[in-house]
């Protein structure tokens, strides 16, 4: 069964139709990159998927569990709050600017939600957090506060914070855009390690080379629609659609 499935998603802010009839399914272990020009609706899509925004129309499911369902005349009808609360354990979201809680230590940032939201036993969560910190190369930073860390370290903490809830899928919204180029590679390495461990991931990114290497599928979005999608060799290596071609050409010009 697919981990994530959305059909005919549409979303508007006032008069602005930001997402138009988006459909997408994500299979277990799949790594999907979403690329596209600024303002094309990539973040809004992730925000709808992670319940930070509500969509007007469409059906969305996590592992077959209905988050919202399109009903004629009503638009997207969401499941009751209690169901949605349970559904949040299915996914994680990594933000562009980390959004760590500044008043908590690194360790507390990671362990608090599993303990006080999911109600997991403290010893088990602590052990899992230790293992994650080690995996992220942050063993020595458990008692540090976020403000004492570099951007790259903060982003690794926020990835650990997302991972500890054992999500079935993680969404990344431009995880390296707030970082210096040297720090970017350290986050990309973490994501590559997750890919090697078969974590299901959806990554919005402007790092085209990274998207080409890490993803099984690349989706090019523009003006709220999926213009083109497929394996990276096709979408990035040999784009069919003129808009994709123009976008990639512009990016490679900006890089040089």
């Amino acid at each position: 069964m697919s981990i994530f499935e959305v059909r005919h998603l549409s979303k508007r802010f006032g008069d602005l139709e930001v997402l138009k009839d988006i459909s997408m399914t994500i299979e277990p272990g799949e790594i999907v990159s979403i690329i596209g020009p600024s303002g094309s609706g990539k973040s809004t899509f992730l925000r709808c998927a992670t319940l930070l925004e509500t969509m007007e129309h469409g059906t969305m499911k996590y592992q077959g569990n209905v988050v919202c369902e399109e009903r004629p005349g009503h638009g997207a009808v969401y499941a009751p709050g209690r169901t949605l609360k349970k559904m949040r354990a299915f996914f994680g979201l990594v933000f562009q600017n980390f959004n760590l809680f500044p008043h908590w230590t690194v360790l507390k940032n990671i362990i608090d939600a599993p303990i006080s939201v999911q109600g997991r036993p403290k010893e088990e969560v602590l052990a899992a957090a230790k293992a994650l910190l080690k995996r992220m190369g942050l063993e020595s930073k458990a008692d540090a506060y976020p403000c004492q860390l570099s951007g790259g370290q903060q982003q690794r903490v926020s990835i650990a914070r997302a991972l500890i809830s054992k999500p079935q899928i993680i969404f990344f919204d431009e995880p390296t855009s707030a970082l210096d180029p040297e720090l970017t590679s350290e986050i990309l390495k973490v994501i590559k390690d997750l890919a090697a461990a078969h974590m299901t991931m959806v990554i919005v990114t402007h790092e085209i080379e990274f998207a080409r290497h890490v993803s099984d599928r690349v989706i090019f979005m523009a003006d709220g629609v999926i213009v083109e999608q497929g394996p990276p060799e096709e979408v990035i290596g040999n784009p069919k659609h003129p808009r994709t071609q123009a976008f990639l050409r512009k990016l490679s010009h900006a890089d040089n």
Partner: protein, 257 residues
Amino acid sequence: MKWSRLSLILIRGFNVIGLLVAGYLFTKLMISSIDWEWLSSILIQLLKGFGLTVAIFGFTLLFSMPLGMALCNVRMSRLKILSWPAKLYISIMRGTPLMLQILIIFFGPYYVFQFFNLDISLSDAYRFPAVIIAFSLNYAAYFAEIYRAGIESIPIGQYEAANVLGYSRLQTFFKIILPQVIKRTLPPVTNEIITLTKDTSLAYAVACAEMFTIAKQLAASQSSMAPFVAAAVFYYIFNFVVAYVMERCERKLNYYQ
């Protein structure tokens, strides 16, 4: 160049010497003319009033700080029927003198009873509660606005991260937002608290026997400025302690950002 510097030093020197001499003469005159028994009786009476001053201060903080938080929540409500009255309330409480509010809270019930032809007279025991009520209602308005500024300064990303992690709205507020709001609002809250130590003196408007009321009575009956000077020293020491405590709190919250 050299001359002007020299003359500056001379002028300063004369000033310092002059001040020292004047200070010495003044102190000598004061000490020789002080009636120590008389002074200690004044100090004892003032200290009794000081107890009430501290009580007004303590009770006002105890009630107005949580009340301000509740008011702030209503003020920030998305429902206009809730937010608008709260806004009006805050604007009135901040836009009229606290002294007037104390008088209204104290004498108001009297006129209400009269209007309904009730023969209830105001007892002396009502003075202190009236002062506490007026102060709490007034300070809650100020605290509400301080909290609001603090809450609005928390980045939206904090709410979003909490939401994605599954925290409930109450958990988000109490575990994640409030601690950061407390840190950010501590400096303006300290300002308010320091103002309050001195505002307690407004209770003299309804002859509540706090320190300023007593100082004023003593000054009149003894025809002396000494009670005022002594009261000023007490206020200053009180403030000094309050400021010190608040500074310690601020330093304690300095572990992040």
